[in-house]
């Protein structure tokens, strides 16, 4: 029995899904996806799923909860339609920063999502740049965590002079990510952190590592409201950095983010299209496409060849 490859797209990032389908040389499967007047989501798939190797592409971008509910309802519909295998392709996995109990009586929301995705019918997941790699362990199904670093690195390497560039982590927790990019480029690193000068005094922004006269490249996985990013940029410039750029995988860009970036002293902000950027265009923002990486991973999963070798 031949197992057909089928691609379905939720409403979160139809453009990316289309690019992936083009990469694979197939059409997106037809599906009704709408909302009732009361807010309920309505899903009806219009092609047979029976015995297919189904990939459901849905980014958990804003409105996050609606996009999430679309995803689980699509999964249930596919499961009940007797698919052979279901892979949830989630270019941006939201709630990933809620991955621990950093305060008493908070949820570990990322685990809740992982469980709900699994119980709804996903048998495997394909995600880009999980906020923390441990989230793979929140799932008990295979998860391929695709890395955007190669794409970002390919973009930035022609723009900088390693000798005069410093890769900056915007907080202590991201030091390892900065180190990885720095080592790939042959740059030094610096780390911004919130320092409390004395017990019981307020925390202030500070930086360790040499930035004086350097071109700074801040790297983070997510740019959300851009508040921290702008504060970091200003501090780096005030402490002598020659220029500041920012790289990030996921351009959430919520609230005042766009305005802040447009009005900032940032040279440039580079993000990928894991989140749909239509309507968020800015002269300072460049978007590089993650579609070939996702498309190639889907192709390899479908053909049972190695996904990890994709990154060698």
């Amino acid at each position: 029995m031949e197992i057909p490859l089928k691609l379905l797209s939720g409403s979160a990032n139809h453009k990316l899904a289309k690019e992936i389908a083009d990469y694979l040389g197939i059409e997106l499967s037809k599906m009704l996806l709408s909302r009732f007047s009361d807010g309920e989501i309505r899903v009806q798939i219009e092609e047979s799923m029976r015995g297919g190797d189904i990939f459901v592409i849905q980014s958990l971008s804003n409105p996050i909860n609606d996009h999430f509910m679309e995803l689980v309802l699509m999964l249930d519909a596919i499961k009940r339609a007797s698919a052979y295998r279901i892979t949830a392709v989630i270019p941006y996995f939201a709630y990933a920063r809620q991955d621990r109990k950093d305060k008493p009586r908070v949820p570990i929301s990322a685990r809740v999502l992982a469980d709900m995705i699994t119980i709804a019918g996903a048998q495997r997941a394909l995600i880009v740049d999980l906020h923390s790699p441990q989230i793979q362990g929140f799932f008990n199904i295979p998860v391929d965590n695709l890395l955007a670093l190669p794409v970002l690195h390919d973009y930035i390497k022609y723009k900088i002079d390693p000798k005069n560039t410093v890769i900056v982590s915007p907080d202590a927790g991201g030091a390892e990510r900065a180190r990885q990019l720095a080592n790939k480029l042959g740059c030094n690193i610096a780390i911004i952190y919130k320092r409390r000068p004395e017990p019981n005094k307020a925390e202030v922004f500070d930086v360790i590592g040499n930035i004086d006269g350097k071109d700074a490249v801040i790297i983070d996985d997510i740019i959300d409201t851009a508040g921290t990013l702008i504060a970091a940029t200003n501090m780096l410039l005030s402490k002598g950095a020659k220029s500041v750029r920012a790289l990030a995988t996921h351009g959430v860009l919520s609230g005042p983010a766009l305005e802040r970036i447009n009005n900032s002293n940032l040279e440039e902000v580079v993000i990928t299209n894991t989140i749909c950027q239509i309507g968020k265009e800015s002269p300072k923002i460049n978007v590089v496409s993650i579609a070939p990486i996702i498309g190639e991973a889907i192709k390899r999963i479908y053909e049972n060849s190695s996904v990890s070798s994709l990154f060698v």
Copy 2:
């Protein structure tokens, strides 16, 4: 060890939760519940839940998916905070009309919700007037399905003359609900349905049962856009009904519903407060409170006395 009773309210219907708390003579437990700029929900409970008998009140009203996600994240937070027992109190259970595969390749969304609520940590559920009673069987935890019929009956019985009143179901599927109210009041019934006069012709509204010169009372579980309700009202009046009233448990009232009702020939619409009606006031709509029934049910669950006897 004493087991304290604690009540938490999601943001869907804080007024109802307050009424229930008042009924029980306790305060709602303190909790931070907000949304981040990117749409993620943020939950932090500010009182110890350890060893408590916790009731989380959340109606799945519009925005449904946000309210649902609030609910599951609250459940996870409570579970990880070592509660003794967790009951999800869901006055209005959304997606309940998606309770079957009436077309190929649609989800059974109500089952998906039931599974997600259970996996997030609910050990029992308290729901008002499930759209179909079979949804209880979607859960494998105990579900108490409270009925609003007594409240609606108590309201309407003083307003009608049974001899001259007919209870009307707005569709064939609701005939049994109409029969129950009719038998409680000693009225006759009529049933509206979509009739196809001949094969391949369009369906038209029709009614069986005698309505001529009668005061008609339409009963349904949900009033959503009110489109069907208004069409039914007009048909009943055109076929000789003297007046038309409508009763329903859940006043979803989405989209044009309010305007339609206000401009209609309906005498009156009676609903309960399972869904928050703040901002939906209308001279034609009367709201009766379900809080005493929910409050009493919580009291009995907490005290381990019979909930079913509540309805004798």
Copy 3:
């Protein structure tokens, strides 16, 4: 690797299983199926199941509990014998009327059966005319709910004159089923229901919709003791119906059913063979075969083509 199709039959309806096997052009797999003297069921499959696409046909007819236990033990034997995929084919799914808590402290038996069938090893189910479509949601495995309406419709359409025929639901809950057949045939409907003339008085049978001088066709999913059916027939005739026929998918025909039908004023009773009718022959009962529909569905599942298109 080729995946062989294999059919096994429990003891409930071997004739139907044989018809299905003939439709598919294969033999039923060999199996010992007997009972020990103490009532324990003994199952031993006599062909390799390894890597096969196995369909187990078992109707849950009387003796229901023995037939159910046969089914789960067959499923366990097949699961432990390393089948590729196991489908439980259940032409008549018993306990389906116990699908809700209509009284306090009753089981939701249909859910219990669904869980037990799943835990024993079924990975998908094929059922004919579930009593309530929501029971699909009691399962978390794919369920194909085949409809007998087309078969019954094909039989009855040549026997009636739509203009002079009324389709009758024997109770308020079945109004939707009557509506569907009526709209397919272009007839009117009527609904029988238990009316309580006044509060605290006993309920009496009544009917809404015009039946005077009409040929009545009662439609239901199950005919069990036929008590309600006979009472309905008599009332329809006493209220002026010209003739009464009955259609039903599942001919349970327990207790006095056969005698009642034989002695009744019914023109004819039409059922399918989801339940074995050997030994229940009657001049008033005509049985139409469901085997081609089940056979075709199995063929399509095996070949991974669409089952839903079967009903277009």
Copy 4:
């Protein structure tokens, strides 16, 4: 909160349940338990179960599958009625001899039952003399396996002279059980087994151990059709045994068992009342009651005191 102790009895052995209730000084809880005309079981519990420590007594005697279905439906009803804790008390656990794959493609029926009992809602089980002790491991809930040996030993020890008595296992698999009784009484043992005199010849009954001139006491866990027992008795007598008695926990006594025993040369057969013996009276059979042991175990479970110390 006080947790009430409640006892429910299925229909399999109401007399034993009554004896247990008497031992505990409580009444059996009220419950409707009947069968519909089509064979479906109907359960409705007529007392509140909310918050109770519920013990459901049901022996899996013939008709086994009906009794089993009664049990799981009672469990589901109790679970959905919000009991605090549910214990399935199963004096005789049927299908226990189907505890392994001794042939290809047979079920491990005892495991299927264990899973179904657990999924239906039992949180702990109380069983008497499991056929093989490993069946405890088929459950993942706590199982107390009460032993009938003390009761049988107390009965037999006054009837025999250890010096002239030999305890006999009727097959090789039961040698350990015979050894335990023999060591408790200070007797020798003998073992009956099926011997194949030469490859490809038929197996014949044989015995090892000295029985000549001895009073033989055969011990087994179950007496089913009594065929093996009678054959063993005759062989022992033909090989010189002075007399033969039989002890067994579970008197299944199916098919020709009673007639065989009545017509046999057995001195006496001693069984317990794990299975209801009403209607199976025989001058050769003596029944000893297991009720005090089960009653005491329930009392200790309810009071959270040690059950194992019951056997010291």
Copy 5:
């Protein structure tokens, strides 16, 4: 899509895994398997597992817990690497003697292992001579229990004269195993057991069945410390046996076993290589290989042909 067959070996019995690979004509897949300085096991598989039919060979020999942890970590790694199907091949399944609660408050360790192996990712298991066949029922995945008896029988049948040989079980629980070998060879049996001569006296070794002047062959599934074996040998010789041999599937040979066997009056000890015997060579011990049986079973599982027919 072609499904490749892949074999991985844990560190417990690499020699056996190599023999199996040779039988199948394939190479063992490459894997890093080592221990960190702190005792943690480190697993990294160096070939793609994606879509493969993977067999992991690991015997649970001493150090048992390290070998077990290797097994579950390999299973998790393979599961997360998106294998098509995972079979745990466990030639010796340790903790199998802890298969019941023979004392209060002990674990049923074999069930714990079964659950952990399943949750880690095994979808089927292949085991040689489970200590008790009921352990198959501890799993809910298919288990093929390969028997070593044919291999041992083939070895011993040329060495004995059935007329003058008696097959001996070293304890009452093993009587059935002795009976099976005896019937295959056409010999008589004898059973050693611990007898308590009188209540409250110490138990002593005794034997039933005729051994005088016979060549005795003790059969057991496991030889561990060999203490019981040596005691049995001495008793048999003291009671007149002409010679004593021992057969066993699993040569655990812990503690003083080797020394005891070397210094004993045993003619010969025959075991299989389910456990690696490198470094345990002895002039009295002969090892027969189980590799062809395991290899053939893997071949048949991979090809979906019958495994049970392997033993006809």
Copy 6:
């Protein structure tokens, strides 16, 4: 019913368990815990667990796998002995560094352990300083992650002058931990990291942040072989640090760790007793006790009072 508090200790850190029992003013429950000659672990609990609130204390120190197996077998024994509630107290949770797929085809071992602990019977866990806080999300049972930072802070704050001290993270991933201690003490931070000077060149140790003339305090969660620690110490001293101390929660101290520390230029190493340090005494190592924190947490869990308030 009163619920007794009971404490059991595995063999990993009996001294700590004793300290905790002393803190609580109770005795450790009696238990046999030994190993059979073949390496199997043997557990038998010698006190009734029925209805108790049971805490099992077991650190997963070397031999890790044996200690882990002890833990799960104790959990199973307690579960089957009908405990009311079971908490696994795991002062040191091994395999925590294997919390992600940092290479293809490796296990997420920490998740495997979490699943196995849960399936064996733990209903809640109490752990000290999880390597990554996300591991809490590997569990679906409540986990209290106790922090050792307060204990280490209390020790170190009297020994340093904040003005002249720099808190050093030994790698980029630990920057956040260093920041937290620094902010508590009012010190600056520095971060050691592996820098690749140019693409394709080897990585070298480097540091960012000012250490010249400062007293350096390295903080980490685990000291294992101490290789990194010594290299860091030497680099800090070579780059001008005045002195180097090290703080860590878990003193794994495997392989050459002790010798390296003793021979190093470290001023002092401070660890807690989550791992038993008997036999690892060193003039350079000071051990502070975590027993009061664990003891207090157990007390609060038992009394259902807040554990989080323990850290305010």
